[in-house]
């Protein structure tokens, strides 16, 4: 976190993208937050097949993330539980939203994970039980800040405006800042390594959504 920024600037998207986790991730940050998939959302050229694959695999990922968040919330100290429980509560609406969308598009959500998605989810669940709780918050921060940044870079227009808007809100930004605050409040030497690991998985996930 940049200590020279004033309080209002510190809650901005730019401020979170300049935090030490992002800066220390180096090239991995761009690799995990910029993707052909997102570019194609922006210019409207995304093949339907890629969008449908993303929707199904992101739903399966979100289910795994919900498991991770439940375990992380249970293991967290009381001071961190508020943000984690709020985040977990929001996942229910998120999953329902995916389910509605899949139903509208006649997509079957009861399918196997793509191997890339499986790896990401296994990483999260293994970490949830084996990493210290301070590191779990950094992992969740990594997942959410990458998602926020990826979608916020797009203009909310065209056929996918609903998606861009959904993950670029002030509410989501505030949540990401709260996760960052929790990381700073409870530091751990392994936080950066695992933040970087999340970005590697994000990179691979985006590639999978576009290329299959």
């Amino acid at each position: 976190m940049n200590a020279n920024l004033n309080p209002s600037e510190q809650r901005s998207l730019a401020a979170i993208q300049e935090c030490s986790f992002v800066v220390n991730a180096g090239m991995l940050w761009r690799e995990g937050t910029e993707a052909k998939f997102l570019d194609s959302i922006q210019d409207g050229s995304l093949p339907k097949e890629a969008f449908d694959r993303w929707l199904v695999q992101d739903y399966l990922f979100a289910k795994g993330l919900t498991t991770f968040q439940a375990i992380a919330a249970a293991r967290a100290p009381r001071s961190t539980q508020k943000v984690l429980i709020a985040g977990l509560g929001a996942m229910d609406a998120e999953l329902e939203w995916f389910e509605r969308l899949a139903s509208e598009r006649s997509l079957d959500l009861d399918v196997p994970h793509h191997q890339t998605c499986q790896r990401y989810v296994d990483y999260l669940i293994a970490a949830a039980y084996t990493q210290p709780s301070e590191v779990l918050v950094a992992i969740l921060f990594g997942v959410e800040v990458a998602y926020l940044s990826g979608w916020s870079a797009l203009e909310a227009s065209g056929p996918y405006a609903e998606f861009v808007t959904r993950w670029s809100t002030e509410h989501f930004l505030a949540y990401v800042h709260q996760l960052h605050d929790a990381c700073v409040l409870h530091p751990h030497q392994r936080q950066q390594d695992q933040f970087n690991e999340v970005l590697r998985h994000e990179r691979d996930f985006w590639i999978m959504t576009y290329e299959g």
Binding site: Q118, A126, T130
Partner: protein, 206 residues
């Protein structure tokens, strides 16, 4: 029996593993030393996770008899690690600082995820391919072994009656504990795929 059904359902994957260049190289002795060194280091990393998964399975066991059998499997893993320590000495590998390949992490995190989060039957299904495939491969390669075969120890270890007995015990427990559910089938199939990828990585990355 469930263990046989799972094996049969994955016959194609098993055949792919048997026909894998890594396995063929082990059999005819042409596998490069670099690839083998790399494999030994990754396998030692993997076996650490494997032992922990058995430990978690013990925590979820329903009877003392199951716990005792699972304890025996941990001894088996420790014996395997002893074999690896021998290789490490001969091949000059530092097993304390192995950087896992992505394929290795995919496998160990899958196992950890199942071991912590899954039911006992699912854990056993995720662990069975590693044992049964290695015994199968070792047995198939055994006729190739001669006095100066570079991978004689590896082949003889995994084709041994002692290792075969461990496999049978695991299969027996799998039949007793697991039921034929999509989660069990998936765990077995995914682990078998991880085995194939595990053979590929040392060749591609060394």
């Amino acid at each position: 029996m469930l263990h046989q059904d799972l094996w049969d359902q994955n016959a194609k994957l098993v055949a792919n593993c048997v026909d894998h260049p890594f396995v063929r190289g082990l059999g005819d002795g042409t596998l490069s030393k670099d690839a083998f060194r790399s494999y030994v280091a990754q396998d030692a990393f993997f076996l650490n996770a494997f032992a922990k998964a058995y430990a978690l399975a013990i925590a979820k066991s329903e009877t003392m008899e199951q716990a005792r059998t699972l304890h025996g499997f941990i001894d088996g893993v420790l014996d395997e690690l002893g074999l690896h320590a021998g290789y490490a000495k001969t091949l000059d590998i530092d097993l304390r600082s192995v950087a896992p390949f992505p394929e290795t992490l995919a496998y160990t995190e899958f196992l950890q995820s199942r071991a912590w989060h899954g039911a006992l039957g699912e854990i056993l299904a995720a662990m069975a391919p590693c044992m049964t495939l290695y015994h199968h491969v070792g047995t198939l390669l055994l006729p190739n072994v001669h006095l100066n075969h570079p991978y004689k120890d590896w082949i003889e270890s995994y084709s041994s009656p002692e290792f075969g007995q461990l496999c049978q015990s695991l299969e027996q427990m799998l039949d007793e504990v697991s039921t034929d559910t999509p989660a069990v089938r998936y765990a077995y199939q995914y682990a078998m795929q991880c085995e194939f990828d595990f053979f590929t990585a040392p060749i591609e990355r060394s």
